[in-house]
Amino acid sequence: MTAEPVVTAAPGQEETDGLVVWLQTTDHKRIGILTLGAAFVLFLFDGMLGLTMRAQLARPGQHILSAQQYNQVFTIHGTGMIGLAITPFALGLGVYLIPLQVGAPRIAAPRVTLLGYWCYVLGAVTLVWAFLTPGGAAAGWWGYTPLSSSIYSPGPGMSLWVAGVFLAASGMILQGATVLWTILRMRAPGVTMLRIPVFAWTMVVTCLMTLASFPSLLTAMGVITAARIDPGLLASNAWNLAYENLFWFYGHPVVYVMFFPFVGCVAEVLAVFSGRRFFNYTGTAFSLLAFAALSMAVWGHHLFISGQQVNDYFSLTSILLTIPAGMEYFGLLGTIAGGRLRYPTAMLFALAFIPQFLIGGLTGIMLGTPSVDYAVNNSYFVVAHFHYTLFAGSVFGFFAGVYFWWPKATGFLLDERAGRLHFVLMVIGANVTYLPMFGLGIKGMPRWVVTYPAGAGFSALSLISSIGAGVIGLAMMAFLYNIYISARQKKPATADPWGGHSLEWLTSSPPPRFNYDAQFPIPRIRSFTPALDLRERQRERQRVTPSQRAGRPVTDTVTTDTRAYRDEG
């Protein structure tokens, strides 16, 4: 039977291995793995910078890092996490999964996708280089002018930062464009737009937002470049205000670029491990589109405290986001409601995503109200808010996706026991780190402070937060340990270890060079869950005419393969 474990790569792949071959590959699966791998390394690097900051802030009045070093560290932590880690996670997942999910043999314009990867890597190298120069880049991830001009940030570090951000963003634009092109123009016969998986829908809106908003960041980098050549420009308020608007025209949509693909991961995982089709598929698809459209009109809520923004308009658009966001939550909760839940690690991460992201989302609505924003903006309240969205939300969704698709990409399963340890440490770490920050913000602790005096009232909560950060560090070690032992055990994955719904579960793990072939053909597509349809048809056939069990052999993977990891339901 074809669903036997397929551990080795498809024919034709082994002999072409080697670093140089990988780095010039046109296989979207390899470009995706390269992107995700580089992003994960940078995620760990930027995470260690975060731990360094928490070490400094654990106690009042500490100067483990000098003021200049501390400013460099949070600048690279923020720029790196957003531009070099989470955004590439988002688009890298799309590069890997989208051709598989829409039944395409390859990604559109694979060399452009590869060029995007190269721009991103060059950008990453440039940013790390900026970090290593004396003085470094220390103007925060916003790079507000005039602080980022050559008067207030002299030296090569800031210039390299501008170049690095520009390159990395260009790379993401290229990858986003080819992913979108693949979804729109390269779907297999029968895969209509309303038959692509929910993850693919989240990638549609992610790529649309990338294409619409990232060019604004490139323009903003142009403004800094001009200001580094002629700092006199910035004597005019208009340039500084223009920079802030250009930056946030990118800076807000990018928040959703770093969010939606992970909602897509969570949606797929919840549906599969609830044993039912995603609930309210069409409503979710349209609410995603509405969300993306609206996301282009909310940037001004970052500028309430500039005193030079239209408060009511941006408050209106920001609060209206609750409607599509609520519809998406409705889809997630509706999917698990009435399901028969199984709880492998991927499902645990997906379930934890729901309440944890909600904390970030609900506090985000509060920040969309100017009267609240005036009080808590640029305080640790905001730091808590966006770490709940990005870490307790997006990164949890990302790990749900990693545990879910890892066997597809590698051909072997991740260890479930180490996975559970990883999950538990992540939940403890995330909440112990970020929950106290809401309190710090309300108590008046500003962002970007190198240290704080003992009498300021921030000591206890800061210490708790720092301990939590240490637990996050342990969680990441648990994950690395998991990869290590899983790679040693090499517990083989079948084509479909989970009882998946979407097309990619019908091809081998890992998939052949062109995704589907004579051995793993694309079936007739009638819905957004072709793999589940096929299993159900098979079951139906077996029930009606057991003697005619011929035809394409498909096992009921829900019952056979769940033995592989221990079903707890």
Partner: protein
């Protein structure tokens, strides 16, 4: 100064709404897991409904009503923060931010207060209680922000631009103020104090300070 009053009300309201929503979602998840557990014990299959059109529409409508309510709350709070008719200020203070401290100039008086913000040398912004004061906020170098956590209000200070707002401080007291916009190396030390004193005392302070005006400031 309406900010503090408006904020505390709206923050409480929105926190309660957020808490209720969060609690409902948690309760729903717990219920789902319980139902799933019983289903598995009975050997019942997962539900197959992919849509419940009426529920979807009702939920969408509920969200729209909720959003509309929050928008109205936000607009009305913003309207209270910035009333169409500000009270007429009885005095003006020019607040100038610079790397890395503050300068407070009392317009029409020969008084300027400043400091270095280093080694405890924090400038004190002295204001009279109960009188509307106009703050003219600007910066001479990079973007800073004037933040008094007690007032629950902050405002950016841009170079080449003056932001004006009016504060009326109801009672005496002394509170810390901070810079709330990343402004470079010593951002974290860029604090000041806001001290509010009775009007008579303020007059005496201004008078005494005027005598030393020539040596104050940098």
């Amino acid at each position: 100064m309406p900010f503090r009053h408006v904020y505390s009300g709206i923050f409480l309201l929105e926190s309660v709404i957020a808490g209720v929503v969060f609690g409902l979602v948690l309760a729903a998840m717990a219920a789902v897991m319980l139902v799933s557990w019983r289903k598995r014990r009975r050997g019942a299959p997962a539900a197959r409904r992919e849509h419940l059109r009426l529920l979807e529409a009702a939920f969408g409508l509920a969200l729209a009503v909720m959003a509309a309510f929050l928008v109205v709350v936000s607009f009305s709070a913003n309207g209270q923060d910035f009333p169409r008719q500000d009270p007429k200020p009885t005095m003006r203070v020019q607040v100038t931010a610079f790397q890395w401290c503050w300068r407070f100039r009392y317009v029409g008086q020969p008084v300027t207060v400043t400091g270095s913000c280093a080694d405890g040398d924090y400038p004190v912004l002295v204001l009279p209680a109960g009188r509307p004061v106009e703050i003219d906020l600007t910066s001479v170098d990079v973007v800073h922000a004037f933040w008094v956590p007690y007032l629950d209000y902050k405002m950016d200070a841009f170079p080449g631009h003056v932001d004006r707002f009016i504060v009326t401080l109801p009672r005496d007291g002394r509170w810390i103020g901070r810079c709330a916009q990343l402004c470079g190396l010593y951002h974290y030390e860029m604090d000041f104090y806001l001290q509010v004193v009775p009007q008579a005392q303020f007059g005496r302070w201004l008078h005494a300070r005027a005598g030393t005006a020539a040596v104050s400031g940098r």
